[in-house]
């Protein structure tokens, strides 16, 4: 059975979703989804371990060899991403039952879990596959379920946010489709590995250039890179809080993965960064993104909005690391990918607890919450510190590598700007801390209890992971290093 792990990784949640339809009781469906997600997590652990010890795993679906059939190709990068996604999904699902019971009407709860599993399977499929068109198919599975999940939010603005996301997401996907089509036209193949071998022959053509541009723009739409980020804040703010926690920690990561995969593995580094002034473009967009989004975050009244803008800023950091495009830079990006998943997972889950108790995430409702929900707010504070990049948290590690990478490249001003960006994070985190600990509660609010254990437990699981990986960096650094090396092994 071990040989089939790559495909099991994807089809277990994929087949579990329709099975879930037979479980009419939401609690059963939840238990089943949790079980499946945990199983996927175990599979991804084994996969990572296999990849680290014995190199790339190739799995041919349907038994047809690569350029004719579809293949799954697991290298350290995918395995790492699979691990992040399944881990976050499992932790988030732990809290799901309590939160969902309150936020979604009972008859839709089972449907919620089905969509959740489909979304999970879609993301895993995108990451695992080695075929360009298969990426598109699974991209659509995950996005369609994402639209529906977001629209399940209580507020009517959730619907509008979901619609906007649908339009932007579909345009993005269609752009990717155009790009894949043009690539196919020039090379006659859809397999990524095969593409990377055949593209250099035709890389001077304008068609390939256009294909690259379309794929990048399409991915950036999904990625919510700075000027194309408009759908993200509302989608995150009005979705059910569990969904926010899940997507904030995983969805953009998948898009970053695609960006890295297409740039480094498919098109190859030399092409990617010589055809367009991409390095500069990404660097600028990343930096502007960090500043614009952080500044906007400071003025938000809704804490979910605040963190959503902070997510956009964090994406900016990842893009900066990507634009440096050295091993260290890529390592920084991947580390930040991992770390950001941990922090945002913890933060949004904590917000989930807050919503469970007080039903709102307006900043003014946070007043005095530090004493009423001490554990939840402590988690928020630690997550926030991590976001700023204080030593002993994971945020520090990734910022450290990022600055290292930038300085290695001799871009001193950029390093200074990154530090300045972190200062902005201090400001918006401080606003939460201020209202939670230094303001008296709003009058007329009854006694508020601590969030229920079923939410608190996953929150603290993530918080502890935050600190643990901030101190003991061996695992994450080792894996990201291997991933970055393998990417550069393909490139020049």
């Amino acid at each position: 059975m071990l040989a089939h792990l790559p495909v099991l990784q994807v089809i277990v949640p994929l087949l579990a979703a329709p099975l879930c339809l037979f479980l009419t009781r939401p609690r059963l469906a939840w238990g089943f989804a949790l079980f499946v997600s945990a199983l996927a997590f175990v599979i991804s652990c084994i996969l990572l371990q296999q990849v680290m010890s014995s190199g790339i795993i190739i799995y041919e679906l349907g038994g047809w060899e690569a350029p004719w059939g579809i293949e799954y190709r697991i290298d350290p990068l995918n395995a790492f991403l699979l691990l992040i996604i399944t881990a976050i999904s499992t932790v988030v699902l732990l809290a799901a039952h309590t939160s969902i019971q309150q936020e979604i009407p009972r008859e839709r709860q089972t449907l919620f879990y089905i969509l959740y599993l489909l979304s999970l399977a879609g993301m895993l499929g995108i990451v695992a596959t080695g075929d360009a068109f298969n990426v598109f198919v699974f991209l659509e599975i995950s996005s369609l379920s994402a639209y529906a999940l977001i629209a399940l939010g209580k507020d009517r603005r959730a619907l509008w946010a979901a619609y906007q996301y649908l339009i932007m997401g579909t345009v993005g996907a269609t752009f990717i489709l155009i790009g894949i089509g043009l690539m196919y036209q020039m090379t006659g193949t859809l397999n990524m590995d095969d593409l990377s071998r055949r593209l250099p022959e035709v890389e001077h053509t304008r068609t390939v250039f256009t294909a690259y541009a379309f794929i990048i723009v399409g991915i950036c739409l999904k990625l919510a890179l700075f000027p194309l980020h408009l759908w993200l804040p509302n989608a995150y703010a009005y979705a059910p809080s569990i969904v926010t926690a899940f997507f904030a920690a995983t969805a953009t990561k998948v898009a970053i993965y695609l960006l890295i995969r297409f740039t480094f593995s498919v098109f190859g580094l030399t092409f990617s960064f010589t055809a367009l002034p991409l390095r500069l473009l990404f660097l600028t967009l990343g930096l502007v993104g960090v500043f614009a989004a952080s500044t906007t975050a400071i003025y938000q009244k809704n804490v979910k909005h605040l963190f959503a803008y902070s997510s956009i800023a964090q994406i900016g950091y990842m893009i900066i690391g990507f634009s440096v495009s050295t091993t260290t830079g890529l390592m920084a990006t991947l580390l930040h990918l991992f770390n950001h998943a941990l922090m945002k997972g913890a933060l949004f889950l904590a917000l989930c607890g807050v919503i469970y108790r007080i039903g709102s995430v307006q900043l003014k409702h946070f007043n005095g919450l530090g004493y009423q929900m001490p554990y939840t707010m402590a988690a928020v504070v630690i997550g926030g510190l991590s976001l700023i990049g204080v030593p002993l948290t994971v945020g520090f590690i990734s910022k450290w590598y990022l600055i290292l990478a930038v300085i290695e490249n001799g871009w001193w001003p950029v390093a200074v700007l990154i530090l300045l960006g972190s200062l902005l994070a201090v400001v918006y985190i401080w606003r939460i801390v201020e209202s939670a600990y230094f303001k008296s509660p709003l009058p007329g609010r009854g006694n508020i209890k601590e969030a229920p254990l079923s939410i608190l437990l996953p929150v603290w699981l993530l918080v502890i992971a935050n600190i643990y990986f901030g101190i003991d960096t061996r695992l994450s650094v080792q894996v990201t290093q291997a991933a970055a090396m393998s990417l550069f092994g393909v490139g020049p």
Binding site: A148, R156, Y163, T170, V171, T174, L177, G181, L190
Partner: protein
């Protein structure tokens, strides 16, 4: 001149795309999206064409077939397209119920009032 076909497709594609971004009516946006996608399908199918070829179904005495792979891809893409359309329309209906309108600008005004 060998590319005229692609150019027409691109013009169509851009008309669809224009409808998506410039029009405020949500249903119209979805129609635009459909046109955009259908034009991409045409692009794929055009590249599968071979002069003198016929449909890729085996028959006696025919040796020149069109390329079947883009056909397969587009079959999948059509399905994805209808799925998106259905979901988008479902969302539109809910928006109409919740906001009483399906014009982008009016919805945004109502949202601003909410805030």
């Amino acid at each position: 001149m060998g590319h005229y076909n692609y150019w027409i497709v691109i013009v169509l594609m851009m008309i669809g795309f224009y409808i998506v971004i410039a029009h405020g009516n949500l249903i119209k946006k979805i129609i635009g999206l459909g046109i955009f996608q259908t034009s991409v399908f045409i692009l794929y199918i055009s590249m599968a064409n071979v002069d003198g070829g016929t449909a890729p179904i085996f028959a006696e005495g025919i040796c020149q077939y069109s390329n079947p792979l883009p056909h397969v891809l587009i079959l999948t893409a059509i399905v994805v397209g209808i799925a998106t359309t259905a979901l988008g329309l479902a969302l539109t209906l809910r928006i109409k119920e919740a906001y009483g309108t399906i014009e982008e600008e009016e919805i945004q005004e109502k949202d601003n009032l909410d805030c």
